[in-house]
């Protein structure tokens, strides 16, 4: 088996025992990127020299016998809405083309402190607004399972990179499902930690009360190790949780779900879900029951308003956050013809620099926040948030974790929903409630839908600060599924023909 197919935790032990060097591993990754990326467009930028320099450094330290962290030497991909000193950061937008940030996101600092070579910056829907990467100003990423389909969004660059062995690990950001939906449609693992568990400093803000950085990986243990590496309090983020949530790596070593109460969310099953998705989901539940878990049904009636509330709160916050792209401090500046005031320069720059979906959401957010409409729209949406939290609190009285399919369908075709924004928004039905409530969620691959042979994801949710529960149940389900298949999820993926 090639090193490319190894999981991050296997690579970590191989590196620790000097079975392989970080330079060898990083070179192999970069070669595979050079081979696949021109077709898949997973990366916007590949940082060959930087990655190899970092790999050389960690190898030297290891040779000297320095104490290194668990993931030292394991390369990683970084979503391009996280700032990186010296590496162009565009957030998938034309307005930031060529921008080289003077500061690192805290999670990037952490990755560097753990001495993980950075392979490059991955593609995303412009400013993370979208579910398919089709809103990227630099073209969509392709799904390695079927090149005509989306790898999900907004973090489709990270999911397609990890699913096609162009990186063992990646960082994502999740505002309404941008880590979990791409994971579900590419057969990978994606975790949105509890709001505040991971610093948002240096994450180019979309919806500040919803955004959370998290791991994109090929299995539960890798995700746990990566969450442990990036989590923790940060003075630069006032919403950062002061307390530690404990070790996810320890939680992922769990091997029993005996007595665990798993709540099926009534509103997120059955009608509206593709039959192959429901089938694989049910099978996963049966495995958990056979392993001693108890299934209870829970109801969250206010979830029916979650998408509506989200598409008021998020555009409202985005319209305010994106005001910083004003042609003055960074990014594009377009000079209109004739004598222009700074306001006219700003408007011309934003017209040229923003894509259609970004403009739509800024206009929608401006409307939701305008006087006379504020209470009816933004105010009501914030009240729905209260109702959703109350429903979840009640559900978690009956169950330790909640479960549903991550998405109603498998990966859709590129172009299929691009002209219909409302249809695109409906993908997020199962993922959005976690962001509105600030709770953690994990998407785990549970097999292929029988009608199209494409990956299906199951989503687990836990109460705020109880991220460890996700890793405990995820690790057990993953083991049962892999025993049943006698291989891992990505071993089902078709061989990529790129030439």
């Amino acid at each position: 088996m090639s090193v490319l197919n190894k999981s991050a935790h296997e690579l970590a032990s191989m590196l620790a025992s000097k079975e392989i060097s970080s330079v060898e591993l990083t070179k192999a990754q970069l070669d595979n990127i050079d081979n696949l990326n021109p077709k898949l467009n997973s990366y916007l930028i590949v940082t060959h020299e930087l990655a190899l320099a970092q790999a050389r450094e960690v190898d030297e330290l290891r040779a000297k016998g320095e104490k290194l962290s668990a993931l030292a030497g394991v390369p990683i991909a970084v979503k391009d809405n996280l700032t990186t000193i010296g590496i162009e950061t565009t957030a998938g937008s034309k307005i930031l083309k060529g921008w080289v940030p003077p500061y690192n996101a805290t999670v990037v600092e952490k990755v560097l402190a753990h001495r993980m070579p950075i392979l490059g910056k991955t593609n995303l829907d412009e400013f993370a607004m979208g579910s398919s990467t089709e809103n990227s100003a630099y073209g969509p990423s392709l799904n390695p399972w079927d090149l005509a389909r989306t790898p999900g969004g907004s973090g489709g660059g990270s999911s397609s990179a990890v699913a096609s062995m162009q990186a063992p690990l990646a960082l994502g950001s999740d505002t309404g499902g941008s880590i979990r939906f791409p994971a579900a449609v590419t057969g990978t693992v994606g975790v949105k930690p509890t709001y505040g568990a991971v610093s948002r400093y240096g994450l180019i803000a979309l919806g500040s009360s919803l955004d959370q950085v998290g791991p994109v990986t090929r299995n539960v243990m890798d995700a746990a190790m990566l969450q442990d590496a990036i989590a923790g309090h940060d003075q630069m983020d006032a919403t950062s949780l002061p307390e530690s949530l404990g070790s996810m790596t320890e939680a992922a070593k769990n091997d029993s779900v005996k007595g665990l109460k798993i709540g099926i969310i009534k509103e997120l099953t059955g009608e509206g879900f593709q039959s192959g998705v429901s089938e694989r989901f049910q099978e996963a539940l049966d495995l958990l029951v056979a392993a001693g878990a108890e299934i209870v049904e829970v109801s969250c009636p206010s979830f029916q308003y979650a998408i509506a509330a989200y598409y008021l709160i998020q555009p409202a916050e985005a319209s305010s956050n994106l005001a910083r792209f004003d042609s003055v401090r960074f990014g594009l500046r377009v000079m209109p013809e004739g004598a222009a005031t700074v306001e006219k320069v700003m408007a011309a720059t934003r017209e040229e620099g923003f894509g259609a979906e970004v403009k739509r959401r800024i206009i929608l957010g401006t409307y939701a926040l305008s006087s006379g409409y504020y209470d009816a729209y933004y105010g009501s949406a914030q009240k729905v948030r209260t109702l959703i939290q109350a429903d979840l609190a009640k559900a978690f009285e009956k169950a330790d974790v909640l479960v549903s399919p991550t998405a109603p369908t498998t990966a859709f075709l590129l172009g299929e929903k691009q002209e219909d924004p409302l249809a695109m928004y409906l993908n997020d039905i199962a993922t959005i409630p976690a962001n509105l409530a600030g709770i953690p969620g994990m998407s785990l691959p549970v097999g292929l839908a029988s009608e199209d042979n494409l990956p299906v994801g199951a989503q687990f949710l836990a109460p705020a600060r109880q991220d460890a529960r996700l890793y405990k149940v995820g690790a057990v389900l993953e083991k049962f599924l892999e025993n049943k298949w006698s291989k891992s999820m990505l071993d089902f993926a078709p061989e990529l023909k790129v030439n």
């Binding site: 509506a308 500046r333 700074v342």
Partner: protein, 98 residues
């Protein structure tokens, strides 16, 4: 019957400092009309006695020690600017001539 008219879209885009073409105004007006109709369902879901939640995990009085820490240099802060002069961001005229 929709409250999202082309005129309103033009007005909102103006508030958001985005120049929009006539084609965009027409497209956004019809798309936003559908979106607004759909998100307006939140109005029916709530009542006066429900308290609004602005942050999922509220935190109050977040302080840190008042100590000087390294920060960006002036050159770093200006490094991404389209134009600068004498260590400052340079912009076009703030006010119209007339």
């Amino acid at each position: 019957m929709s409250e999202i008219t082309p005129e309103l879209v033009r007005h909102l885009a103006g508030l958001a400092r985005i120049e929009v073409s006539e084609a965009e105004v027409a497209q956004f007006a019809s798309q936003l009309a559908l979106i607004v109709e759909s998100v307006a369902t939140v109005k029916a879901a709530v009542s006066d006695e429900i308290v609004a939640t602005s942050h999922p995990i509220p935190m109050a009085n977040v302080f840190r020690e008042d100590v000087v820490k390294p920060s960006l240099t002036q050159a770093q802060a200006l490094s991404g600017a389209a134009d600068s002069e004498s260590g400052r961001f340079k912009v076009s005229a703030i006010l119209d001539e007339d």
